[in-house]
Amino acid sequence: MSKQVEALDMQEVLAKVNPVLEKHGYDDGMLVGILQDVQAQFNYLPREALIAVAQRLGIALSRVFSVATFFKAFSLTPRGRHQLQVCMGTACHVRGAARILEKFETQIGIKAGQTSEDMKYTLETVGCVGACALGPLVVLDNEFEGHLTVDKIEPILERLD
């Protein structure tokens, strides 16, 4: 929340938001689905997009903001090009997920929940991704990287552009 985000051009925002609303038939009951699709367009939920969604659906901005802040899957700040989700579930935990996370944090130089200065990485922790046999693991742009050791982390990060 700390980083200042520049205001976007409303015309450009509407060009991306309108087709999404069209697809969902301007149904405010589909708000979560609409926000998911809007986030897919921008990689996050820009302030202008939320205002546009509220206006076009004819619902209160406070409701859109409430939903957008409720779900962890939504981000109100820009996210990095690569999403790193380190699993902190029980199985990964006992196999040293804490050390894996620490290595990611020191390697990239950010804390969990933050995005790196160059917008390359967003580092997050998740409860359990249901792939306990692979633990400890990281979900890297929706791909599972399992059986991690601290030594494997640097090569993984170097592989990314």
């Binding site: 302030r47 209160a60 901005l61 406070s62 859109v64 903001f65 409430s66 802040t69 409720f70």
Partner: protein, 243 residues
């Protein structure tokens, strides 16, 4: 008409009334925070827990403000089981709102003076009952505020913590707050509404006769736009000078 038994005495009630409504009418005290006649009941504070037995033999603890009465329902508002759970709820509320005199008062009624739970945030008064957001939605119709985030980060806020566009500065949220977590002052032509996480300022309109600043400009604008017959002259005089 149906008959409900509360604390061993029979009372008549309408179908679909809540336990709390019947109890209140008959002067049976049940503590509440999140109940207010102006808005629909919500059941968030849990302090009004009572024990019920239905005719069919169901026995459980329910919130009096939400549970609809039925014929032959037996209610106890003050037995050991109820007081045990209510005291625990009071302790949780004390941990949530260490700065609230109102929470401390109801807790003291129950004999609870300290909490075994960790104090969440010093100085907090908000119990997250959502009365403010509900009155803004149901009565005022502006929906300027809502509950945002979730879990331990849940709080009342205006959109983006800075967008008070929908607020008309009516102060309904201030008046309805059961713990005075939202406050309001009118000074030097400015109405300031202070929420736990933000402060909003609104210009006030002066009375042409006595000079008192009596209504927020945004509220006047809202009235004018929602009632086509109204003219701006109607707001020249305050309530006292209008007679």
């Amino acid at each position: 008409m149906i008959t409900v038994n509360i604390n061993g005495k029979d009372y008549s009630a309408e179908k679909d009334e809540t336990v709390l409504a019947v109890a209140k009418r008959n002067f049976i005290y049940i503590p509440t925070f999140c109940h207010n006649e102006a808005v629909a009941d919500y059941g968030s504070c849990r302090i009004c827990m009572v024990e019920i037995w239905t005719k069919k033999g169901k026995n459980k603890l329910v919130t009096a403000c939400l549970f609809p009465v039925e014929d032959g329902l037996k209610v106890e508002t003050n037995n050991e089981r109820v007081l045990f759970i209510r005291k625990n709820i009071a302790e949780l509320l004390l941990a949530k709102c260490p700065a609230s005199a109102e929470v401390a008062e109801i807790a003291a009624q129950l004999g609870v003076y300290e909490t075994k739970y960790r104090i969440e945030k010093d100085g907090n008064k908000c119990i997250l009952c959502a009365l403010c957001t509900r009155v803004c939605d149901e009565v005022v119709g502006r929906k300027a505020i809502s509950l945002v985030n979730r879990g331990i980060n849940r709080e009342v806020a205006i959109p983006f913590y800075d967008n008070a566009a929908a607020c008309i500065a009516c102060g309904s949220c201030v008046y309805i707050c059961p713990t005075n977590a939202i406050t309001m002052t009118d000074k030097d032509g400015i109405r300031t509404i202070t929420m736990p996480n933000c402060e909003m300022k609104f210009a006030l309109r002066k009375c042409n006769s006595c000079g008192r600043e009596w209504i927020p400009e945004k509220q006047v604008k809202y009235f004018l736009s929602s009632a086509p017959g109204l003219t701006i002259e109607e707001f020249d005089l305050c309530q006292s000078c209008r007679k």
